[in-house]
Amino acid sequence: MSRSTFSALVIQVGFLAILGGAWYWSTATGSVSKLFLPEPAAVWLAFSRLVVTGQFWSAVRVTLTTIAQAYAIALIVGIAAGYLVSRSRFLIDVLEPFIAGLFTIPITLFFPMFILFFGIGTGSKVAYGASYAFFPIALNAIAAFANVETHFLRAARAMGASRWGTFRHVLVPSALPVLLNGMRIGFFICFASVLGGETLSSIAGVGRNIAQAAELMDSARMYAWIAFVVLTAITLNLLIGGLERRASVRGGGAW
């Protein structure tokens, strides 16, 4: 078992090394235009130059604040709406297909409307990110709260639990796994849509800087920004995956 893990690791490292080597070799021999693919050294230089500037951190701060605001709105509105809809089978049957149907349309389509209503500042990105993340959060919240075992609820009521007590000790814990799944999907959608909104049309933020570097044909700087986004996304993904694994291990132990 550990031997096959080791050989898988060797293949992974080898594959990445070949990719890196191909990058280095193709730029060193000049077979690829520097505009499309600058040398690794140039990207590294651009990256190290970028990180020490105040401009970098202010752009990162703008983007993070936008994501935090959008995600907070999506969480509050999405979970509240999901909970309210889940209280009646009739409401679920009427509204759930609407929400699910709208979510099959890329919300990106409506981005020009967000720009029209909220301007090109951070407001439009907050509204756009929040609207996009609302859907998976609300859909999972409906599923989570609607599918709580009725035995649990009946037992809680039989034992004289108050409404709040039932909510706190029965409804929320049993809905949590599905709810958390929606929150995770919503977070990554929020992250990507804020970045996308900034790239499409804005005045500040990480996405704007990527688009600007591309407009100025400053490929090294563009790759440096993209590398930053990729590293951030991978780190967040590993972090959240690790948290989930730990939570599920603990949940397994409790059962």
């Binding site: 096959s4 898988a8 293949i11 992974q12 609407f98 029209l116 996308g196 790239t199 993209i226």
Partner: protein, 270 residues
Amino acid sequence: MVMTASTWETRNSRLSYAARVRWARCLIIVAALVALEIYGRLFADPAFFQPPSKIVHAWLFTVLSDARITSALGMAVFEIAFAYALAVVFGAVIGLAIGATALSRRAFFPLILLLYAIPQVSFIPLFVLMFGLGAASKIAFGFSHGVFPVIVAVVGGMKNVPALYMRGARSMGVSKLGIFRHVVFPNIAPGFFVGLRLAMTMTLLGVILAELYVSTAGIGYFTRMFAENYNPAPLFALIGSLAAIALAFNGCVRIAERRLSPMRRSAQLS
């Protein structure tokens, strides 16, 4: 269980439950349209919002009667279809290659999942730089969004074949090809359809992102022009047309899934 609520509601009314759900849905749509119409006519700033009747008017007399806009919409349809076809074919081939052995799966599947998690929007300028402002960059961007769900679905289906089936087939002397045809393939099929549906959603996202990013031609040009001229009626009509196209593509995938499902069942039985 949950069904008790619906049976209770059915008994308590003359209309059947399904009919009441349908009526409630229609009522919501009509009420929303009426509310938007009143808001648009009486309260809204016409530079930012127009009532639905004006939007329909703009759809008929601006969007549909301008050959440049209809050809841009037609181009978008072509890009989505082409990108989706590429994503499905390449996704299936790459997925089969990665899922073929346990070693290749363990080596490459984590890399694929990692790539899948990256917000690809940050790569848009790169795609435009490499493939230009025309259809190629949009197809490439839609493809790079759509290919991952297909790969993940195929590899996932190959991974989850019950070991007992594999052992059973092998002990009965089934050839490698026979195992793939009769054991592995039926196991891929159900998840594959979910992957196909997700791939359509992602392809639509990719193509539309690229269309909006490129503002010198195609749909991005018109949305930008209408928004900058504070002319919301044709803007909403154009966005509505694209939404209808997206719904039509999703509907096609769903119909195809339903059509092919009986085949899947017989494959599982055989």
